[in-house]
């Protein structure tokens, strides 16, 4: 592949990359991997709490994506489509995995804002949320992540998880209540 084609592929929208990849262009798919892989790994890591497992799951998700590309209805929305696949793959993996294999968790604290006090509060908020999400029951966590991180509607989550929209609503309400309680002091 020429350097120029790479530069061109990097410049175009997801929709064009998806069209090309659907037609069999692996170079376009590679740009999709580089563009969306990092967030997909982070999503998988949030669920699995193991870097090695997250890496495996995202690879599997990309194999699935490559085979199912022609089924994408909206090529511009490939990110959300990929996140759905990674969510599905990660939770399936989680259910099959022995219970104890997780990493010592990443330490989140990183002060990036100029004001150290603001940074400290922010890091504490992120840590609190991270802990609250880790403690959610699996079904509630799954709904929460699809809702807040993938921005799916109740109906879309229901389709994804083979639930009724009412059941999704209930799980999200319970998740929201638990997270809100844990986050109380950061309001």
């Amino acid at each position: 592949m020429s350097v120029d084609l790479n530069a061109d592929l990097n410049a175009v929208d997801d929709a064009v990359l998806v069209e090309r990849a659907t037609d069999g262009d692996t170079a376009a798919f590679e740009v999709i991997i580089r563009r969306h892989g990092p967030l997909m790994r982070s999503y998988a890591y949030r669920i699995l709490r193991s870097e090695a497992d997250a890496d495996d799951v995202v690879q599997d998700a990309f194999y699935t994506a490559w085979r199912q590309l022609s089924e994408i209805r909206d090529p511009a929305a490939v990110r959300s489509w990929l996140m759905r696949i990674v969510s599905r793959t990660a939770f399936t993996h989680l259910r099959r995995r022995p219970a104890t294999e997780t990493d010592t968790l990443l330490h989140l604290a990183v002060a990036t804002t100029p004001d150290p006090e603001t940074a400290a509060i922010r890091n504490a908020q992120l840590d609190a949320l991270s802990g609250a999400l880790d403690r959610l029951p699996e079904d509630q966590k799954q709904c929460w992540l699809l809702r807040e991180l993938v921005s799916l509607s109740y109906t879309e989550i229901a389709q994804e998880l083979h639930l009724t929209p009412g059941a999704v609503r209930g799980k999200l309400a319970r998740a929201r209540a638990s997270v809100a309680i844990e986050m109380e002091e950061w309001r």
Binding site: D13, P38, S42, L129, Y154, R176, I181
Partner: protein, 197 residues
């Protein structure tokens, strides 16, 4: 499970309703929500939580070690073993004993290579219509493309069409009845390696 946090606000609205409203980007405008201090408070809290969740994901993405080249190449190796050849299009040969054909995948690849070589053009999709498996049957191509800022759409589209006819004539003897080019996207002019250095 008993609800510890009330999901119904004093004003009568539920958190579910507000969450739905937020998910719809606060449209259509709901005056009963937008003028209620309690709703506005709850909306803000929900919005902050949603934003914090997305920040958490990005934050963790930055904290994780970057994906390795080997990890990417493992995926690439695996998917390139599942090439999409598509249908086979027969090509004419003077000797009737010889059967030649070209795959749809190869034609798409030729179309992409030809279109991409034109300045300011990147090919998207390429669809072949017609009775492609019958020798000599008319075939229609529908090609989408993205164009770099500052180029003339109609002018570039004409050039793509001319070049595609020429390339297909040179490399295949397919009966191309028509080529439709649609410019569907606009992209920034990418930085070339020589311009970066």
């Amino acid at each position: 499970m008993t609800e510890i946090t009330p999901t119904v606000l004093d004003c009568g609205k539920t958190l579910d309703e507000l969450s739905d409203y937020l998910a719809a980007d606060r449209t259509p405008f709901d005056a009963s929500i937008e003028t209620c201090p309690e709703c506005l408070n709850a909306l803000e809290a929900l919005e902050r939580l949603g934003q914090l969740s997305r920040d958490l994901l990005e934050h963790e993405a930055e904290q994780l070690p970057p994906v390795s080249e080997a990890w990417i190449q493992t995926i690439m190796t695996s998917i390139s073993q599942e090439m999409r050849a598509g249908r086979s299009l027969p090509l004419a040969h003077p000797d009737p004993q010889v059967q030649l054909s070209i795959t749809e995948g190869a034609i798409r690849s030729l179309v992409r290579a030809t279109g991409d070589s034109i300045d300011g053009i990147l090919i998207g999709r390429c669809i072949l219509d017609g009775d492609v498996e019958t020798p000599g049957a008319p075939i229609h191509l529908t090609v989408s493309a993205s164009i770099a800022w500052g180029n003339s759409g109609p002018e570039r589209a004409d050039l793509v069409r001319t070049r595609l006819y020429a390339a297909l004539r040179q490399h295949t003897d397919l009966n191309i009845a028509g080529i439709d080019i649609t410019i569907e996207n606009i992209h920034d002019i990418p930085l070339r390696a020589q311009e970066i250095s």
